[in-house]
């Protein structure tokens, strides 16, 4: 039984800003299906008393001291910007944004 529909892949692609062709949507729906089913089999094994793992290494509380480090210069910061103006990154207008 297919759990991931083409529509769902299209929606996720939209959210992730990935442009997919019709062929790719169909192919990915099938591939993601295999992945999701495989993960579902792991879930069958995991009982309620097994907590979900987000971090494989059992470490907590890794903090940095609140100390200032030298920042980039403005020129360095902007060196990768396709367009810049007045020391700032110039970006296309944000759709639907209020001025």
């Amino acid at each position: 039984m297919s759990t991931i529909s083409r529509e769902e892949v299209a929606r996720l692609a939209g959210l992730a800003r990935i442009d997919l062709t019709e062929t790719e949507l169909t192919r990915l729906a099938g591939e993601l299906d295999v992945i999701v089913e495989s993960v579902a089999r792991v879930q069958e094994v995991a009982t309620a008393d097994v907590p979900a793992t987000s971090h494989p290494i059992p470490m907590t509380n890794v903090f940095r001291a609140d100390v200032v480090e030298a920042p980039l210069s403005v020129a360095q910061a902007l060196s990768g910007a396709p367009e810049a103006q007045d020391g700032r990154f110039a970006v296309p207008q944000i759709l639907g944004e209020d001025a």
Partner: protein, 502 residues
């Protein structure tokens, strides 16, 4: 953009509908460096001068959590009477917006560091209100977009935005209330009082400068209406980035009036984000919550969980400041203010200002006189908060010192105050620059008194016969001649001396 919105008068709206509000407050922590890197956080610096590769979200960078920010978040949680999580994680909130350079905001999702708290407020007339806190979580601020209009636009002739990432990555704590019910017509006042209460709390904790005008504290206000307190909650709107106490109050008022009109017309309220317009006190539709708000949260793999030990939490609990209400009572006793006087001071947001003025050497009565009198009038006329006025408590204490030393009378002091507010310098500098000092130099005063007496010869005879009434007329004449700068007490002495000497 002018959009006419149907409104039901506020009083009528709250008579027929039960308003429910919820408030999200973001506070920027006053740490020296950012949440996940060592970039400085100085306000007002040159654009993009406070960034590192981490702030810019460049490929391959890794975050390193600021321990001081975690400590501040725990202290805020404790001050809000929250539980502190035994273990919590950061999460990525994924969305595409130019001010979020990583394409996700590092935030917390289902595991906030603090949850289930409450605060107790006191409204203007002393009515207590308890606001339940849902959660307080850690996250990072975004950069700042400046929209450039089409007319001046030069990039391919289109409109565009300019982005400054200095603020990107500054630590934030977001505090979310549970729905606040049962406050009826007082919903706008409760909302503003709550935000002010939090602002005072952040300052007392020393976790943030909490300056509203700098956006250190920002509020999103949720409002919904229902036909009666027994009905289920209505559809809410969220008005974003309301950045002053007055605006919070106005935004809630406006939304209540607007939603009542929508419901009256038989339509339904649309769940959406709205923008508040400072100039008109209105809100307008922003994004409609939809697919785009699917943030696909997942645990941040590059940061290990935070698990504050109970010992640490208890140690931080001992650093909490006095509860604001207790502190207010202590200050009131020390200052000798009556209940109504103190209430006015609190409502005017002048507690800290008066405290600082007294610390700088002024008497409590004098400090109150200035902040609640002349300065309150100026603030009202300019429609700003008292603390935004261009004068410091130390300068008020200095000004009062000049009055106490007899170098300024009330009238001159007010002129000096105006000079300080106009940016002419410290009180002492204004006195010198404007030549406003009280004249108590006997030579100058004697000359002026003699001239006044000579001009009204009959007065001398009257005074000599025991009628002291006309002394005032002579003092008045001297004041006039010295442009109000004479020391009235000294003038009186000189007049009497002269008359005696005959």
């Amino acid at each position: 953009m002018t959009v006419t919105t149907d409104l039901v008068p506020f009083d009528e709206a709250v008579r027929r509908y039960d308003p429910v509000i919820g408030i999200e407050v973001h506070v920027e922590l006053g740490t020296a460096s950012k949440m996940f890197d060592g970039a400085p956080t100085e306000f007002g610096a040159e654009p993009n001068s406070q960034v590192t590769p981490v702030s810019l979200g460049l490929p391959g960078v890794l975050p390193a959590l600021n321990g001081k920010a975690v400590e501040s978040a725990i202290r805020i949680g404790l001050a809000l009477n929250c539980e502190i999580a035994e273990l919590c994680r950061f999460a990525r909130k994924n969305y595409f917006y130019p001010d979020v350079p990583k394409n996700f905001q590092t935030s917390q999702y289902d595991e906030p560091i603090a949850f289930d708290g409450y605060v107790e407020l006191e409204l203007e007339d002393g009515t207590p209100v308890r606001v339940e806190i849902e959660r307080a979580h850690m996250e990072e601020d975004a950069g700042k977009n400046t929209h450039v209009g089409g007319a001046g636009g030069r990039i391919h002739g289109a409109e565009y935005s300019l982005v400054d990432y200095n603020r990107a990555g500054v630590p934030l704590v977001e505090i979310v209330t549970k729905p606040i019910t049962g406050v009826g017509a007082r919903a706008p006042e409760v909302a503003a009082t709550y935000v002010r209460h939090l602002r005072d709390l952040f300052r007392a904790l020393g976790v943030s400068e909490a300056r509203m005008e700098r956006g250190n504290v920002r509020a999103d206000v949720n409002v919904s209406l229902r036909p009666s307190p027994d009905a289920p909650l209505g559809t809410r709107t969220e008005t974003k980035n309301v950045n002053s106490f007055r605006s919070v109050e106005r935004a809630v008022r406006f939304e209540i009036a607007r939603q009542a009109a929508v419901l009256d017309s038989g339509a339904t309220v649309v769940q959406e984000t709205r923008h508040f317009h400072e100039d008109s006190g209105t809100t307008s539709s922003g994004r409609i919550k939809s697919d785009a708000e699917d943030y696909r949260y997942f645990p941040e793999p590059d940061l290990v969980p935070v698990a504050p030990s109970r010992e640490w939490v208890e140690e931080l609990r001992t650093t909490l400041p006095e509860v604001p209400a207790v502190r207010r009572r202590r200050l009131q006793q020390g200052w000798g203010f009556t209940d109504p006087e103190m209430r006015d001071v609190v409502n005017a947001g002048a507690v800290e200002l008066i405290e600082a003025t007294v610390e700088a050497g002024a008497s409590p009565a004098a400090a109150r006189k200035w902040w609640m009198g002349e300065l309150a009038r100026t603030a009202k006329a300019d429609e700003v908060d008292l603390e935004s006025l261009a004068i410091t408590p130390a300068q008020i204490a200095e000004l009062q010192g000049l009055v106490d030393a007899g170098r300024l009378n009330d009238k001159l002091a007010r002129q000096v105050l105006a000079g300080v507010l106009a940016g002419e310098g410290s009180p002492e500098e204004v006195v010198t620059a404007r030549g406003l000092e009280v004249v108590s130099d006997d030579g100058a005063l004697e000359t002026a008194v003699d001239a006044a007496l000579a001009a009204q010869p009959d007065v001398v005879a009257k005074i000599r016969s025991g009628n002291l009434g006309p002394v005032g007329a002579i003092i008045g004449a001297v004041m006039k001649a010295t442009r109000g700068q004479a020391d009235a007490g000294r003038v009186r002495e000189i007049v009497l001396q002269r008359v005696e000497q005959g």
